[in-house]
């Protein structure tokens, strides 16, 4: 729920209890509300476009500016997307429901109210399973409802640019009326010390689900996905839930994780000190990882919700809902199970690929002709290292799955060894062209010419007579230095295994 309140409490003195101690004394209960802006072409109730970053008030019309007499009409695609989200989250789809008018006095909506849903959400009672530390945690979904996003206010005057202390505000209504889906979990007990990770994993899983459904661009940096994080604590041994706080508009997964942890530490200190947790909204601060007090929560009845008279009820045709269900794409968890069995990799490797957002890349590389093990090896090895070095992500590396696949094929055919392949990848990343161009321009071809290899070996044997004698005398281990010499002399282009074989032959030694 987008909440606007008016009572300001002063910033509270920040006392924290160490995390382990807090967990020993209290059990956290989590709750997450997620707002997802749908990626429709037009707004929820009018035909204005929805592009991000357009000049202020260029995507507005009489409906979303609430000019007198203008009437909303619901966007069918937004209804459809919300039902698809509900189905993917195993929800029950309402047979009949309505929009509701949420009244509040605040200029981010020109109507003085927001069209939302209240006691009749489009989807309810679902769940999403998330995997954390090898354990599957079922997150129960309370409801998924559809509403409209608000305009963007800029606060002018005052030291902080925040609403407090501002002289006045200026408002851009481009965002007002963009369809916004709110996904609310039921309270999540029993996660204990994993609570912060569970919250993060839920966020990631939800984003992946939205992406798979193609309903939103889920750009957290642009606010098209944002989280409100609820935390409460109850003393160990108690069964009565404590008072919760709601940390608003947390917009990165790392921040979700940190805000849960910070709030556990803070509330534990308040409760242990004989204090009372106040039901309020809080703000998360990136720099400290802590929250500070926002506003005390207004009573829900102050919104004076009532059925939206300008819109007729929604009554999804069951046949349409079943069509949408049947047409759902393969969902992320099912896809992961499939990929794991196809690729035959461990849970740990799957987790690493998941964290690196590598599934699409590895899958596309295999589709482009790479053996599964090689595709995984290069993306999670050399390329992950390169991405890490340049502080970027695998998906942002300037190399395509087809190019990586070509490198694996060249290795498999014997044209490249691993060392040369790394050099090829380096060249591709440096913008020197595709793998074949880099091989040609850098001269990276394994020496397959036996005559040339033989000549190099003769030279190395002559230069390293001591090592050669040791091998002749039966000290086979000494051959390593000779192979190393050949690789060096060939600038890495020799096939090491073949070189070793030839050296032993020339020295008349058999293994």
């Amino acid at each position: 729920m987008l909440w606007k309140g008016w009572v300001i409490t002063m910033a509270d003195p920040m006392t924290l209890m160490p995390y382990e101690e807090a967990l020993a004394r209290f059990e956290p209960v989590l709750g997450l509300e997620t707002h997802v802006e749908l990626g429709t072409a037009s707004k929820m109730f009018c035909g204005c476009q929805t592009a991000f970053g357009a000049p202020p008030n260029t995507q507005v019309c009489p409906v979303c500016l609430a000019f007198p007499g203008a009437l909303p009409v619901a966007n069918q695609k937004a209804i459809e997307s919300t039902i698809r989200i509900g189905l993917a989250l195993n929800c029950t789809i309402a047979e009949w429901c309505r929009f509701a008018r949420k009244n509040y006095f605040y200029p981010d909506m020109p109507k003085n109210y927001q069209i939302s849903q209240y006691d009749e959400p489009l989807c309810s009672n679902g769940y999403l399973d998330v995997e954390v530390g090898g354990r599957t945690v079922r997150i129960e979904i309370e409801r998924v409802h559809l509403e409209e996003d608000t305009g963007k206010s800029t606060h002018v005057g005052g030291a902080t640019g925040r609403i407090h202390g501002a002289d006045y505000s200026i408002v851009d209504y481009n965002r007002a009326g963009i369809p916004l889906v709110e996904i609310v979990t039921k309270p999540i007990p029993g996660t204990d010390a994993m609570a912060p990770e569970v919250a993060r994993a839920y966020g990631i899983e939800l984003r992946e689900l939205m992406r798979t459904l193609g309903v939103s661009d889920v750009r957290m940096d642009q606010g098209s996905m944002r989280f409100d994080v609820n935390v409460s604590l109850m003393p160990r041994g108690s069964s009565e839930w404590g008072t919760r706080t709601e940390t608003k508009n947390v917009n990165s997964f790392r921040s979700v994780e940190r805000s849960v942890r910070g709030e556990i530490e803070r509330q534990a200190a308040v409760l242990a000190g004989g204090g009372r947790v106040i039901q309020e909204t809080r703000h998360f601060h990136e720099d400290t990882g802590q929250t500070t007090s926002g506003r005390s929560k207004e009573e829900a009845q102050d919104y004076r919700y009532f059925p939206e008279p300008d819109l007729v009820p929604i009554e999804p045709d069951p046949a349409w809902v079943e069509e949408l269900r049947a047409a759902l794409p393969e969902l992320p968890s099912a896809r992961r199970r499939r990929l794991q069995s196809e690729w035959g990799v461990s849970d740990l490797d799957m987790q690493a690929m998941h964290n690196a957002d590598a599934f699409d890349l590895v899958e596309a590389t295999i589709a482009a002709g790479a053996p599964a093990a090689d595709a995984r090896k290069w993306w999670m090895g050399e390329l992950a290292r390169r991405a890490n070095e340049s502080a970027t992500t695998l998906t942002d590396l300037p190399i395509t799955p087809a190019q990586v696949a070509r490198v694996t094929v060249l290795v498999a055919s014997g044209a490249l060894n691993d060392k040369l392949a790394r050099s090829v990848l380096e060249g591709v990343l440096a913008g020197e062209g595709g793998p074949d161009e880099v091989v040609a321009s850098r001269g990276l071809q394994i020496v397959n010419d036996e005559g040339e290899l033989s000549a190099i070996i003769d030279q190395v044997l002559a230069d390293n007579a001591d090592a050669a004698d040791k091998v002749r005398a039966g000290k086979i281990a000494a051959v390593g230095a000779l192979v190393g010499g050949v690789m060096k002399a060939s600038r890495g282009k020799a096939d090491a295994a073949r070189a070793r074989q030839l050296i032993l032959e020339k020295l008349g030694v058999t293994e």
């Binding site: 476009q49 202020p56 008030n57 069918q76 200026i170």
Partner: protein
């Protein structure tokens, strides 16, 4: 049907940011009471076989396709605004002294 109290009127006035004088609270309490009473008469004729409705027309599923339509120009959009700054609607301070 209990009467609308002064406190309720004061609360509504605060939510609507209306500054009402003391005597106006009584004045509007009586008026609101009358309005609520008039609307409540509907309940007297509502029969068990008539489901409650929130809309005058027996319609559902009125949708529009997801198609972009022309917007107003910013000049048009802002033409009625009492104050404009930087292409945006300028509004008075949002958080008042009441905190």
């Amino acid at each position: 049907m209990s009467a609308i109290t002064r406190d309720e009127v004061a609360h509504l006035a605060r939510l609507s940011r209306l500054a009402l004088a003391e005597e106006e609270l009584d004045h509007f309490a009586a008026q609101l009471d009358q309005i609520v009473g008039a609307v409540a008469r509907v309940a007297e004729v509502a029969a068990d076989d008539i489901p409650p409705s929130s809309h005058a027309l027996p319609l559902t599923n009125v949708f529009r396709p997801d198609e972009v339509r022309p917007c107003l120009t910013p000049e048009q959009a802002l033409s009625g605004a009492p104050a404009v700054e930087d292409g945006r609607f300028r509004v008075p301070r949002i958080l008042g002294e009441e905190a």
